[in-house]
Amino acid sequence: MSYPGSYGAEAQDLGEISYGSGMGQKLPLMLCLDTSGSMQGAPVESLNEALADWGAELRADVQWKTTVQVAMVTFGAGGVRVWQGSEPFTPGSAVSPFVPASEFYPPRLQAGGVTLLTEATELALRHVYAYKGWLKEQGLTYYRPLIFLLTDGIPTDETGHESQSWQRLVPYLESGRRDNGFEFYAIGVGNLTPQGQHVLSTLVPGGFRILGGFPFRTLLRLLSATIEKVVGGSGADAPLLTGAIGEPDPFDSVFGQFPADE
């Protein structure tokens, strides 16, 4: 069907439009990943491959590449490390380690060392809050940040001994949930012990999952589904990964494929 006038049937749209800078909504996404010694070998290789593919997926998506802002904190090899894309983040070198998904090329992670989960989570929270503050200062709008903690062990101190320091995270995570400061997901993988499960269930009641094996590709697909829910306008109480225990969870069918005792 063609229309008369100056707009031919081949016209694509209303032309090149100038949009207000910064009017796009940002979705801060923090990955907090366990790279301790127990992840050595196939697990960390699997994680690296899944991250590389997932990064390519983010970069290719017309919306996510500008909307999603990614930062990473790892705990294990090299201690607690903050990543700005593929490079270690140097405080003072930039406002924040968050980079647009269009520029997110994940680092090649190595496994080793101890499980400083508490310190890594605290650092991740600090960066998320600082980034939110910066976005607000700039007059930018943003979705509730997503923080994604992945671990296969129990928190330790710097000497590798089991630590109860994680308990100091509990009130911070509680207040963050209460104030809608962020969405926090905790996923246990590998052969997580009952104590490790207890840690995650205490940190994120109703918002943790224990999986058998290292199904990183599936996990990152689920994270993508979560992003999709958020940017699709599901709002503050979207039933994402954190549906309360006992309530239907849209991802249960997928998680169910990886029972903890598998």
Binding site: Q63, E228, G235
Partner: protein, 258 residues
Amino acid sequence: MAMWRVRGFSIQGYAHLMEGSPCQDAYRQAAVGSSVVLAVADGAGSRPRSAEGAALLVTLATEILAGLLKAPGGPGDPPTLKRNLGTAYDRIRAEFLRKASLLGGDGQAGDFAATLVAAVVAGPVVGIIQVGDGFAVVRTTDRAGGTGYHLLSQPTVTGQHANETIFVTSPGAAGPALAVTHDEGITGVLLSTDGLVPAALRRDEGHAQLPNRDFVERVLSHLDGDASDPRLVVRTMLSDGVVGRTGDDLTLLAAVRA
């Protein structure tokens, strides 16, 4: 005789397209003599029957506001219209909650949660009812031929994050934002749900929201033409420039002087 040409567009946002879920926005219009009433609604993505809620809301809003225009005395002067809009909204909300409870069961009206922007466009007078994060822009032309764009009703964001807003079903939604303007130079009115905020609005240096003239002008100018091709508007709504800024459903309802 209709003085206004009205065109509406409501399409799935990019995120909904990618996951195969339906558009949860709705729009509706009604003509009363030479006047028009317009309504857009955005169903809350987290609520199971919000698409039905949005459709119900725009239906009720246009019916009740059309009734207001048909009543003796019509819309009245701006202060009268503002009072009448408040009364009309009370009826819209009460009827919406009643019907939603009938459909969903007692206490389940929240399943139909939706935002609302509705307008009465009667000659030089435009009145707006707004609940939630939609918005309304008015185009005016002055005697020297200059064109201005004015954000008559701006998005209400209740939380610290995008997408956190108030719905007609919310406890705090009893008092909507009301705005009335009288200007002989009004030549266009554009209502939208929040999906198009990143495209149709911008911020000044003080971070205050303003219409993004480039977007609004192109849309309304295009619709001014008798031979306007609505596909161009849809393509623009799904262009990379828009999709790169929002994945939300996109609804635009515009009236331009015919």
